[in-house]
Amino acid sequence: MTIFSSLSMLAATAAPKPMSPILSGPPEALLVLALPILGVILCTLCAIMRVRTRMPAFLTVGCLAAAFAITVGLYLKSGPAPVITSGFEWINLSWGDSAGENSPFHQFIANFSLYLDALTVLWMLFVTGLATLIALYASEYMSGDVGTGYCRFFAAFNLFVFSMSCLVMGDNMLMLFLGWEGVGLCSYLLIGYFYKKPSAVEAAKKAFILNRIGDLGLLMGICLTYVHFGSIEYRDIFAQAQPYIDAAKAGRYSEIPAIVQLIPVLLAVGAFGKSAQLPLYVWLPDAMEGPTPVSALIHAATMVTAGVYLVARMYPLFLLSEIALPLVGWVGALTALFAATIGMAQFDIKRIMAYSTVSQLGYMFAGLGVLTSTGAAFHVVTHAFFKALLFLSCGAIMHGFAGQLDLRKLSGLRRMKGWGIVSLGMLVGCLNLAGFPFTSGFFSKDMLIGEAFVTPGTAPIGWILLLTAGLTAYYTFRVFFRVIVGPVHYEPGDELHSAHEEHAHGDSHNEHAHGDSHNEHAHVEDDHQHHDHGHGGHFHPHAPGWAINTVLLTLSVLSLAASGLYFVPTGVHGGAVPAMVDRSSAAYQSPFAHHAIPEGAGDGGHEGPDHAAETVPSYVPTSIAMEDPHAVEHPHENAGTFLGWDPHAVLFYVSGAVGFIGIFVAYVLHYAGRTTAATARADALLPMLGPIPRWAQHKWYVDEFYNLVVRVPLLALAHTFHLIDKLLVDGLVRMFGAIPRWLGTLIRPTQSGELHGYAAGMATGIAVLLFIVFMLTLR
């Protein structure tokens, strides 16, 4: 019944190539899971003891910082091979004809153990690191809610980190699923944090329900994995999949059972739900109803990348299906484009960031789809930093301007006192997101786009991504040019945090009264704008304090420094992060990737194509996309090009240029000559485009479409079924439900409460049973 005996049996039977024995990992990895749980307990205790200070925040920061420190230790220790840290035996059932039988289909093992390889450590590094920083940020951001709400927030925050760690570090798919549902639950709890706000509750429900659709796919994928491979532990799955991988390597897809090809497709559906891809992306923009630190951590940096993690972790399985990776790639590319077009037309800066998150997640999926898991992982890391930075900057603005997020009502933040770091953070974030040359976003995005042109047959994805890069630059700098620079102007939002802003309430009501007629305001464009309101409003935006500023500054530095990762000499194209992915099960080096490294872009230790043979693990096919087996020897012949040039060499300039164009357009339309906050040159151009901007602003009416196509028929169906249920099923249920009651009333008189009645009953019962037994068996 022990896992080791079964493992050795599996390894003996399944793997034609000798797998390196899996060593046991460092035990302190379990602390990474234990510390957030400790945080949950401490925050709960704070709630019970009615702590009215910022204690829970600092406890959280402490726990998470310790977890981060341990993760760094794990990183320093990590070797090239995966290791497994055994926690405890969680579920270990076996059955069979004899007790000693331990064949895969006679047992179900899901231990609480951790699978540590470079991919795990990479994910955990930014999860725990960002969680620590964002917890620190939230300590100030949430200070308006000090009290039980504060404890609730941080308890859920810790629980999220625990669930995410579970998802990333678990050594089997059940732990992944546990974490998957756990992060979903925490997301629900935190989106609905302001549970008195109906829109927040709606958004929380929407996120939860839409995720269920994806989760169904994931669950079915896990079930099929067990059904086919007889195990849900990664090492067993990878070992068992080896023959199929060999088949796929030789292009013999017909030898791979359909069920195995179906597994990655189902897993991809799960990933699309969690990572907000088409068609399940609609929950993510609404999720912005949650407090901004939550948006930054969960809905930008970590949880939404769980789908990318899933695909990367199960990459060997994805390579087995002819349709899974193209599906992932195309969905990713189309999501990237689609979300970008919506993002261009929004006015709420947080929503713009939300759509940009959806769009960037699309990039990552597209990257996975075009066979550059390394590039996708790199983009996950860089995106985590700069998107968290952008969200936190938006949060600081929201915090300071009483919930104001409309870019038509804010302007010139740079020139206000105390907003320097926020402006800097926005600038750094925007540059990264726009793919400005030599920022980390630039490198990671180029890896994806370049690879799309390199991999045969995926050039259309590359073109879509390139176009999206331009759109991204435009909408990113649209925010920057309108909010950060330009004439100083602001209006407070309708959320007032503290008592001294009570006066401003008049303003907010006034805002509501005026409704959408903000253009008529014709604000005076100077510092004293708010005096001219004439309503006695004395709103003063409060600039962020030390905690927020520290975090923003740290993140700005980190997101700039992340580009340095690209230049780390590791021998793998793309620097440190791809090198880590390369050492994990997600490793897939396209044979096309190595001839095409740009000379000038500074890849430190590139050692030539023959290095690929060393870095690619034996169980990963060298090529999946090629029909011609001879192409393995001559990869250059099949490699795609970008209009006849080497994609990696030329794309640095092309995508840089696209980015510049986007920024320039934003400059012309939203900054040059703008004298008010509300209007810009773009407004004059809008009518020329007809109804398209309005459609984009209404998110292409996708929500309405879903409402019509899914919700209305479902409701109609529900009402029909309700009727059937009421008339037919209820009757049946009532009938069957009545049987126990009827039986009960039949037996009830025996419970008379009288001693002699009971004694008589017992004696009779004994007599009857004896009679029955003797009559039936001992004649």
């Binding site: 019944m1 009960g744 037996i747 419970q751 009971y758 009953g761 017992m762 009779t764 037994v773 001992l778």
Partner: protein, 535 residues
């Protein structure tokens, strides 16, 4: 005999504690008397420790003359008994004093140190637990009978003194008389067994069955023994007392009644059935047909009667009492399934042992909630414990700890997947399927569904209903220890479920059945002097 003593250390320790507690209870100083609960706890902890360390298993048991068919059962059973007893202790603490204090407060009596029977109550409890441990050790029918009675006799008194209300005394009397009747039945069965085999030693009886076959007289003896033990486990047709006694007793004592006699009954049943084994039936691996049929009928009836009566109740306490009957029916399925191939999912014996622990823990939580919240009587009488479902309304809001304990425990009793009850019920199903008892599994499934009706009600009342803020809104019982017991149980339901695998391993080892122990009757051979054949 000295060899036997070596593995009776837990019992010896517990008995010594009992004596200390009795003496302590006579002390003049109140703090000394109040210490008796703590002394009890220390004694139980010591017994737990000794159970883990000194109780031999496997071959040592046989060498020392213990019963050899279920060599691993005693250590596991002793640990689980001591563990649940430790959980029960805080729930029982203060049961008698509350009634006495109230009598004095209302002027119905004056303080009389002689009436301060705090310590007696605890020593009765410990006596009962000692008896239970001795049941696990039994290797002899006489030993078994004495141990069973030592388990039961103190509980009769505990029921009667647990509350000042007349109902408790009535319950005590009923319980005593019917208990005596039950004891008479299984004693008769034991006598027939002795008559059929000429020995009271279980190993020797086993040996005799193996060598001479099972006579009709022995079958009759076994049937009567099982029927008598049905009283202990509250199974049909000996179940009549259950609801009245549980409702009459205070909730703490009721929780104890749901665990202690039931465990004793199941352990005794397994010991007695081990003598015939699960390999002499028509199927290759089942009980002899008469016994299988008997247990089959009892199991099906017990589950059904318990559940359908529970559905009708408006009193939560009575519901729990009837559900306790139903749970006995579930466990009987495991008894019928037998050891199977020895793996956890196929071994009915380990399933029963596991379920006893699970049931002990989660059932305790439900009763602890009823005990820890009480309603002041409108006429100024003694505040009474929660009883009806209505009293539980909105408990999660008014008494969060108790409310959530109730929610967790009733979900676990229902067998919801992440909780302990699920892991308990799973092997009952799988072992019965493995043994080919498909119709019984269907009955079990249907009954689990019926049980959902009242367990969900038990969960929904505290969680979903609005609290009823009437004049008689429930208040916390002054004994914090009871809420603590509830918390322990709720925590156990989760924590033990997370570490269920460890328990599964242990219970698999405990449920190992040795059909033909080599040295089984080495020490007992001489006792087999008369070979009687009833045919």
């Amino acid at each position: 005999m000295i060899g036997r003593l070596a593995y009776l250390w837990p019992e010896i320790a517990l008995f010594a504690t009992t004596c200390i507690v009795m003496v302590l209870g006579l002390s003049r100083s109140l703090p000394m008397r109040k210490a008796s609960a703590w002394v009890c706890g220390i004694g139980l902890l010591a017994a737990l420790g000794l159970s883990i360390t000194t109780t031999p298993s496997g071959s040592t048991v046989i060498a020392s003359g213990g019963q050899a068919m279920l060599p691993g059962m005693a250590p596991f059973a002793k640990c689980l008994i001591c563990l649940v007893a430790l959980f029960l202790l805080p729930l029982l603490a203060g049961t008698v004093d509350r009634a006495e204090e109230h009598r004095i407060a209302t002027g119905a009596g004056v303080f009389n140190p002689l009436r301060s029977n705090r310590a007696e109550f605890y020593s009765f409890f410990l006596f009962s637990i000692t008896g239970l441990l001795l049941v696990a050790d039994a290797d002899n029918l006489i030993w078994l009978f004495l141990a069973l009675e030592l388990t039961s006799l103190p509980t009769y008194i505990m029921v009667a003194i647990s509350s000042e209300r007349h109902r408790a005394q009535e319950a005590g009397v009923k319980y005593f008389f019917l208990g005596a009747l039950g004891a008479a039945v299984f004693l008769y069965g034991f006598a027939l067994l002795y008559g059929a085999t000429g020995t009271t030693n279980l190993n020797a009886i086993h040996e005799s069955f193996l060598s001479r076959g099972i006579s009709t007289m022995a079958i009759a003896g076994l049937i009567l023994s099982l029927l008598g033990l049905c009283f202990k486990i509250a199974a049909v047709p000996m179940h009549f007392y259950t609801a009245d006694v549980y409702q009459g007793a205070s909730a703490g004592v009721a929780a104890m009644l749901a665990f202690v006699p039931k465990t004793a009954g199941f352990l005794a049943m397994l010991l007695i059935l081990a003598t015939v084994g699960w390999s002499s039936g028509p199927g290759a691996a089942s009980l002899p047909e008469p016994l299988r049929l008997l247990l089959w009928v009892i199991a099906a009836l017990t589950m059904t009667v318990g559940n359908v009566l529970a559905v009708l109740q408006s009193s939560a306490k009575r519901t729990l009492a009837y559900s306790s009957i139903a749970h006995s029916g579930y466990m009987l399925v495991g008894v019928i399934a037998g050891p199977g191939d020895g793996s956890f999912t196929r071994n009915g014996i380990s399933a029963v042992l596991f379920y006893l622990l699970g049931y002990g823990v989660m059932n305790l939580g439900a009763f602890a909630v009823l005990a820890s919240v009480e309603k002041p009587a409108s006429d100024g009488g003694e505040p009474r414990e929660l009883d009806s479902f209505d009293d539980l309304r909105g408990l999660c809001r008014t008494h969060p700890v108790s409310g959530w304990t109730m929610v967790l425990c009733s979900l676990s009793l229902l067998g919801m997947p992440p909780l302990l009850g699920f892991f308990g019920k799973l092997p009952l199903f799988t072992s019965a399927i493995g043994a080919g008892e498909i119709p019984l599994v269907l009955v079990l499934g249907i009954n689990s569904a019926i049980a959902a009706f009242y367990y969900l009600r038990l969960m929904a009342m505290p969680l979903l209903e609005e609290p009823s803020f009437r004049a008689t809104a429930p208040v916390d019982n002054p004994f914090v220890s009871r809420r603590f017991a509830g918390l322990l149980s709720a925590g156990g339901v989760i924590v033990l479920a997370v570490f269920a695998n460890l328990l599964m391993k242990e219970s698999t080892a405990a449920g190992r059945y040795v059909a033909r122990p080599e040295t089984a009757s080495a020490g007992a051979k001489t006792e087999v002097s008369v070979a009687q054949d009833g045919r």
